[in-house]
């Protein structure tokens, strides 16, 4: 109840006209930078820090939070329309979202993403307000062994879900894991597989890989097919709004995505990517029409988008209660707190309740503003799809290259992009799924360092993974998920032989 009273006071702070204006500026800026490739919320906040130094801390933090949430909304737009995920958390959205857009259902895809983000952020912000102190106590108990277990589940489900067979999925994952080894090893500071190229020292940039595999690979593939069959997939079909059927199929994924996204986002090393992968897998398993997956299933957009935004709110739990930034944007926001001599941590809620609750309340308000801003934009965005196919794909190529160059101005980066584009084309041509490659690159290095941290703590004894109930359970689930399909197949064949 205490929290509720504090929250009411918080709304008092947030509804102050000046603060409302800061929130509005924040969401506008956030949406803009989310849509534009090349600049993201982290850089925007960093650029604004010196300007806001003289402002009142409440107002500028509210604006930063608006940018953060706005960036999450905007990021899905390019993924759906152009198959060009601007950030790693939108990779999954591109899978089904772009398929929907190409079947003339870009409108409902954008709408379910926007409304799902709204619902998820609303619930997750409420979770932040009421459960942050409890959640964080559980989250810090999550040891490296538990993280390793979680990553194993992600690996297995992803490789089993994407693609026509688990073997193809695992092959793709293997490529990603190999790419993930490139660069400086976090635990020893030694370089692996960089071959003296300085741009490889920090590893392969996730967006370069994702844009190369998805956008470039797709362009090449479409271009190679264009001569043979003249498909025109882009016309808008039906209403640009969500139908009753779309609503019916979306609401459960929204809630499930939130349930996955918020707790994982709140983990100190959880991040936004794992929940989107898990949500996609879950929706595919639970869908009434699993055969629609890969052909533009709305559940595959609704779930991961909700998970993405819920994890963004989850990220604020360790930031506010521990002073622990788990994303680039959160790290810059931490710097924002520090410039006002505020140290996020266990004492923040006690020492500066007005500020914290004002921030939480303005997250609710920013969320409503975002929905109001984004829904009317859907009609405008889908018009992009009326552009003739060759023009559109040429545009995507330009955007993909510009975004990559902007993020990392080097020739090596551009060559990598082209290389990954060719890889994406070959993989499409021979029917290997591309998403597990991205998963391998993101999660491989994490799984690597978490496993080795666990072993360092146990002085090299691998049994530590099975001694902790959490990791033992997760490893068991991962093993089952990997072996069970083969077992069932084997059993079925065995019975057939008996007959």
């Amino acid at each position: 109840m205490d929290s509720l009273i504090h929250l009411m006071h918080g709304f008092g702070t947030a509804l102050d006209p000046m603060n409302l204006m800061f929130a509005a500026i924040g969401v506008l800026l956030g949406t803009a930078v989310g849509v534009l490739p090349g600049i993201g919320p982290a850089l925007t906040v960093a650029l604004l820090l010196p300007i806001t130094f003289k402002l009142d801390p409440g107002g500028s933090l509210i604006m930063f939070a608006g940018i953060y949430y706005g960036g999450m909304y905007g990021g899905s737009t390019t993924a759906i329309l152009l198959n060009t995920p601007g950030e790693s958390a939108s990779v999954v959205t591109a899978l089904e979202g772009n398929q929907m857009a190409r079947r003339g259902r870009g409108g409902p895809a954008l709408a379910t993403a926007a409304i799902g983000s709204f619902v998820a952020a609303l619930i997750a912000t409420a979770g932040l307000a009421f459960f942050a102190p409890i959640l964080v106590k559980v989250a810090v108990k999550f040891g490296p062994w538990d993280y390793f277990g979680l990553m194993l589940i992600a690996f297995v489900t992803v490789s089993a879900t994407f693609g026509s067979s688990p073997l193809r999925g695992l092959t793709s994952l293997g490529i990603g894991l190999w790419l993930g080894l490139i660069g400086i090893d976090q635990l020893t500071g030694q370089t692996r597989l960089a071959f003296g190229v300085p741009n490889l020292l920090d590893g392969i940039e996730v967006t370069t890989l994702a844009v190369g595999l998805f956008a470039l690979g797709e362009c090449l593939f479409v271009a190679s097919r264009h001569l043979f069959n003249d498909e025109k997939p882009m016309a808008i079909k039906g209403s640009i709004w969500m139908s009753r059927e779309d609503w019916r199929r979306s609401w459960k994924p929204w809630l499930r995505g939130t349930a996955v996204g918020f707790p994982i986002g709140a983990l100190p090393a959880g991040g936004a990517e794992i929940p989107t992968f898990l949500s996609y897998t879950m929706e595919r398993k639970l869908a009434e029409k699993p055969e629609e997956f890969g052909q533009g299933a709305i559940e595959g957009v609704a779930g991961p988008e909700a998970a993405n935004n819920a994890s963004a709110a989850g990220t604020l739990v360790p930031l506010l209660t521990l002073g622990l930034p788990t994303s680039a944007t959160a790290a810059v926001m931490l710097a924002g707190f520090q410039q006002y001599n505020l140290q996020p941590g266990p004492l923040l809620f006690v020492q500066h309740p007005a500020l914290v609750w004002g921030l939480v309340a303005s997250l609710f308000i920013a969320n409503i503003m975002l929905l109001v801003l984004n829904l009317p934009l859907v009609g405008l965005w889908v018009r992009l799809l009326k552009i003739p196919l060759p023009w559109l794909y040429a545009g995507i190529l330009v955007f993909a290259c510009m975004g990559t160059i902007a993020a990392n101005p080097s020739v090596v980066e551009l060559m990598l992009l082209v290389g990954f584009g060719l890889l994406g084309f070959v993989m499409r041509r021979y029917d290997y799924p591309v998403a597990p490659v991205v998963v391998g690159l993101i999660l491989g290095p994490l799984a690597d360092s978490q496993l080795r941290r666990a072993l360092q703590m146990s002085l090299g004894d691998p049994m530590i993974l099975l001694q902790h109930p959490g990791s033992a359970t997760m490893i068991a689930i991962a093993t089952l998920a990997l072996v069970a399909p083969f077992l069932f197949k084997g059993l079925a064949r065995f019975r057939q032989d008996e007959d």
Binding site: G38, L43, G189, Q190, A331, Q343, M457, L459
Partner: protein, 323 residues
Amino acid sequence: MTYLHSGLAAAWMMAAAAVLPATSVQAQDLELTITAPAGAGGGWDAAARSLQEVMMATGKARSVQVVNVPGAGGTVGLAQFVQGAKGSPDQMLVGGITMVGAIITNKAPHDLTKVTPIARLTGDPLVIVVPASSPYQTMADLMEGIRQDVERTIWAGGSAGGADHILAALVTQAAGIDPAKVNYIAYSGGGESLAAMLGGQVTAGVSGYGEWQGQIESGDLRALAISYPEPIEGIAAQPLKAQGIDIELVNWRGIFAGPDISAEDKAVLEKAVGKTVQSPEWQELIKARGWSDYYAPSAEFAGFLTSETGRVHSILNSIGLAD
């Protein structure tokens, strides 16, 4: 979240830098570009942007641009700077002790002898902490624990070969144990290692004092010592030196100019930076950010850099991260 950041601005600024005339200028006409060899939000980025803000506010420079070149403990930014800022009177680079370590462990092609030291700016204390539930109450207890079982004394801190790792090795060495045996787990920053501390998965932790200040004040972590040479106002934990352990290590940050710049250009930059850090605006800003003033002018900084590089090299060598 978004990985597509730092760069658009960097592209602009590189274009701008190419257009700027490379001639000698007066301090108040300076149009500077400062390279922060790290992504937005880190310590070097914050130092570069703070310098930018105060130099412009106090009129020590007409305009200052900050360029982020992240990667490999600052060595990617350093390499680019060594090539791009040769003889340039209007480019500077932020660096620090972590870069000294990264140059050695990564066997980077360029080291800090290639660039021109302008000034040492700030120096923050590192803190050695244990979780509140730890049986260790004092630094002496921790040292005794190291002597009992060095392998089970698990340390958490920042990147491998960085200042935190070096301090853990120095403490182990001071306890009379071979520093190569230190069981140090590297995390990507003070935040992630904090979770390991609070979860009770490790014995002790090292980080910048400011990063863990909240937890120390709330009693979730117990600070045993700071690595600064003297006690610091407002910090209860005492220096290692005051506790009879002869170690001092400061997480310093400094600013450099390009290779082979002329004596006049160097003097202009040195004067501009020197006047900036002596201004009340700078003092106020570093206080707000929780940094400590550690200013040293060019000549003193150059000498310090030589001795610091030697010291870092020898300890990294004894850990086995350098040859």
